[in-house]
């Protein structure tokens, strides 16, 4: 493949990934309102188009036409940098996620992934840890007590749960022996007894999967760990002073992070794009991507389901849960996994 074709293919992949991700983000907001509404025995958005399917479009237009207020007391450079940082880091993380195996279109042979790097998992962890600054700086530069408290809570929570999150992944890494997300998926191919897939969730990483889910909810500031934006205490938390598109950028970053976490969960624990492949060649090429998307959507649905079901934690409960329960459990999981792999 020449360098020209390579750049062209990469640009096409980036454009497609961004379009799909941003559409996904927009429709997740609608799905969330709909599902939570039905859990609470309401209708949810139903005015814009049939079943309210144009609601995200209307929301987007509304955000663009809202007045963009910058309060006079903010520290401008960081106030402007914070939402950009949040959204950039959230969108960049999708670059290393493999959505399918290698495909051939004409003479071009390419993986269904923007960048196949050998440290893919570490790239995602690095990007999310830089993303914390978006939240921290937003709160500090807004110069408001609600923003400040929200961002203090958010950064403390994200730093604490990043440890449990990182440790829950170590078991998977011990099994697959690689940081490359593609290798991790390939290590999960095959079945037990002919029908149970050898996904990591079925090969002893069950506990790690639950540690990952809980830590991921805290990382993305979602209910039941949404204390950084607890509206009953902090108005809206770290983005209290933001309006119009700047607020929308934080909003998009939060949902894009949900997608990253969901993609990572399906790659690490649910076998990524692996699933039964059958039928004519075209169907065989499309099915892996369909399996991947279904796994991600199922994970997103669980996110919304939890939001409609659980109340919010208290802050001391949150910290005690992270440090005194998830952290030791993750360490125990690593030791047992290492022992099993060493004895095998």
């Amino acid at each position: 493949m020449t360098i020209g074709t390579y750049i062209l293919v990469s640009v096409i992949k980036i454009v497609i990934a961004m379009l799909v991700l941003l559409t996904g983000v927009a429709y997740t907001t609608l799905a969330e309102r709909k599902v939570v509404a039905h859990i609470q025995n309401r209708w949810g958005p139903s005015r814009v188009g049939p079943f309210g399917i144009w609601q995200p479009l209307a929301d987007g237009l509304k955000f663009i036409f809202k007045e963009d207020v910058t309060p006079p007391f903010v520290y401008r450079p960081l106030y402007l940098l914070a939402p950009v940082l949040s959204l950039t880091m959230a969108l960049t993380a999708i670059a290393v996620i493999p959505v399918g195996p290698w495909v051939s279109i004409g003479s071009v042979h390419t993986p269904l992934q923007i960048a196949d790097v050998n440290i893919g998992l570490l790239v995602i962890l690095g990007l999310t840890s830089i993303g914390v600054y978006g939240v921290a700086l937003a709160g500090w530069s807004s110069n408001s007590k609600y923003s400040m408290l929200g961002s203090l809570r958010a950064s403390a929570q994200m730093v604490s749960y990043e440890i449990a999150l990182g440790l829950s992944l170590v078991g998977v890494l011990i099994y697959s022996g690689s940081f490359s997300l593609r290798d991790i998926v390939m290590a999960q191919s095959g079945t037990f007894l002919g029908f149970i897939p050898k996904w990591n969730i079925f090969t002893g990483q069950f506990i790690a999967f639950f540690i990952y889910i809980m830590a991921a909810y805290a990382e993305t500031n979602r209910i039941p760990f949404d204390l950084p934006e607890a509206e009953t205490e902090l108005v809206a938390g770290y983005h209290t002073e933001y309006s119009s598109m700047k607020f929308a950028m934080f909003f998009m970053a939060e949902y894009a992070n949900m997608f990253t976490v969901a993609c990572l969960a399906s790659v690490l624990f649910l076998g990524g794009w692996l699933g039964p492949v059958f039928g004519p060649p075209l169907l065989q090429a499309v099915l892996p991507v369909v399996w991947f998307v279904l796994k991600v959507l199922a994970f997103i649905f669980i996110y919304i389901w939890v939001r409609g079901t659980l109340p919010r934690f208290r802050y001391d409960q949150l910290m005690a849960f992270g440090w005194k329960f998830l952290f030791p459990l993750a360490i125990a999981n690593i030791m047992i996994t290492a022992l099993v792999v060493a004895l095998k």
Binding site: V123, I130, A136
Partner: protein
Amino acid sequence: MHLALFLIFGAVCVGAAINLLVQKHPINSALSLIVVMGSLAVLYLLLGAEFVAAVQVIVYAGAVMVLFVFTIMLLNAGEEEVLPHSSRVAMVVGVPGLIVGLAVGIWVVARYAGLDRIAIGGPQVLNGTEGFGNPSPVAHLLFRDYLLPFEVTSILVLVAILGAVVLARREE
């Protein structure tokens, strides 16, 4: 390409380091330090050490600096106060002293380490060290060749943490 990236990120790194010293407000200094860490990670990447680069971002730019920023935010540290006399002395004595010191340092390194080991014109990977920054070579060094020093260092760090906790604990 390598040379261009090296020059750009080297300049960013030095610029951010100077900015770190010049800035009056602690949060600006902390952010400059994050930029220094980030551009160092890119330099590691140019050397072919992807794993070290990723760890640099996760540990230093991510974890350590978040704690710095967190502390500055929590204490709500204000602008640094500059004493007029001390700063003039620093300008007259410190800056020439710093330049002389740097020149001597570079001369010593160039004289005794040999000029051929200083990569002028961008980073170069010395023969036989390809892939030295990838997970398995790093793990071999840490957990096989230097296992004892590594474990001793970890106990040292643990003692330091315990010491900090004991010192910070308020007397009943």
